[in-house]
Amino acid sequence: MSFTAKLANIDRRVFYWILFIALMVPFLSPIGFPLSVAENTRDLYDGITGDNVEPGDVWIINFGYGVSAWSECHPGVTVCTKALFREDAKIIFMGPHYDVHLTYNKLQTTAAADFAGKVYGEDYVFLGYITGGEAAITQLASDMRSVYPNDYFGTDLDDIPMMADVNGWRDIDGVLSSDTGDWGSYFLRQWQGPHGTRLAQIGIAMLGSTGIPLWLAGNYFGMSVGSRGGAELEILINELGEATTSMDSISVSHLLIVIAVILANIGVLTERRES
């Protein structure tokens, strides 16, 4: 059997074990590659800081990701929460995953210092789980109380000070949707499109492909793409965190896949030459 044929027939589990181990090594022995900040991430950060946010502005942060995508989306959400709180904006947290309360609890840990100075009900509120797809997001724009009569803890929205005058798109200054799926596009179609609400996405990397054209067209004022976007945001706010830590592991695994692809293609080229 030729070397190329042997290469082509390597048991897939060999790759899996290599990847499994390679992902862990950088955590034990960090490397610390430098990182540049992409324009779309900078636009997102600029859009939630400085003159673009007034004290008292009300923003929605949609946790459109579950625990499985924490490493992708959560660092970006953490930075955005910190940035908005530091501009004295008020934040409504919500999400369409069953484990949304775990994400909210984690955020209180990852942005603990910023939550410490804020009061629940006055500066932020957690509405909890939402479902109903596009119809629910449309209702959120027209009558928030029809999908959220009370917050996650059961308090009537009318009894929450910061929600007293908030019931639809007119009362919201911006939406940050952090997604693994379609919820960002629901906000796009039912909030940004018809009402011009400022919208940005803190999406998984796959959504970078579908979201970048929307950012270029001005539908999203900014966009963070996956854990890399999270790491870039951590650089912008000057507080390195989870995403920056994971970048070494990402580097090693990405290098591995490129090496694997090159090896496979060397095999193809050699075979072609031989034939």
Binding site: E72, S146, R189, G193, L216, N219, H254
Partner: protein
């Protein structure tokens, strides 16, 4: 977040770690009863969480307002129950009414919302000439404009891709391949980041790195 100290939290952490290895036994070894056990437990729990979460949601947005005097809420409640006739073959047609409501609302909202951002703004962005950036900006502008026209032509499935359509559809296919390549690149980042999160958890439980 610090390493837990309470007994049940520590047991919980290790339970999660063991379950993780049970799932990993499938790709790293092969399909086996240990993996299946974890898989079936996950499905069972997910179904229950689905039922209780949505039940509490229905109580919150439908039953409570109905008890408070909004008697019109009986309509979606009945429509919702009607969907379960899907399980009874002779009355399956009844479930078409709630499905019709969902589909009608879905189409109505989807169609009305998609035109502006996904068609109109995309076209405007494509045909807006660059105001600065020099030669490279113009090359990119032409690349996107020509690429979009050719790629769109590739999806003209009502005509055979021959004659005058042959060259542009062929070029369009190449533009699509580039987009799919970039999409794959981003997919790699997403999938590997999720694996990275698990690798981190694996080491954290073993106290090899801080929580």
């Amino acid at each position: 977040m610090a390493y837990p100290t309470a007994m049940w939290d520590v047991i919980g952490l290790w339970t999660g770690w063991v379950l993780m290895l049970m799932i990993y036994s499938y790709p790293l070894y092969k399909e086996n009863p240990v993996y299946r056990t974890a898989e079936y437990m996950f499905i069972g729990m997910m179904l229950a969480i689905n039922v209780v979460t949505n039940f509490s949601n229905v109580v919150r947005i439908c039953i409570t307002p109905m008890m408070g005097g909004d008697f019109l809420m009986i309509v979606p409640l009945i429509l919702g129950i009607m969907i379960y006739t899907m399980l009874i073959p002779e009355y399956r047609w009844v479930s078409r009414y709630p499905v019709a409501l969902l589909v009608g609302a879905g189409f109505g909202l989807g169609i009305r919302g998609t035109i502006a951002p996904n068609i109109q703004d995309a076209i405007i962005s494509t045909i807006t000439a660059p105001s600065d950036g020099g030669m490279m900006a113009w090359i990119n502008f032409l690349y996107i404009a020509v690429g979009l026209i050719c790629s769109m032509m590739y999806f003209l499935l009502t005509f055979e891709h021959t004659g005058p359509l042959k060259a542009p559809t062929r070029i369009g296919r190449l533009f699509i391949m580039i987009a799919l390549g970039a999409y794959f690149g981003n997919t790699v980042l997403f999938r590997f980041t999720m694996l990275t999160g698990r690798a981190q958890f694996f080491l954290q439980v073993l106290k090899l790195i801080p929580m």
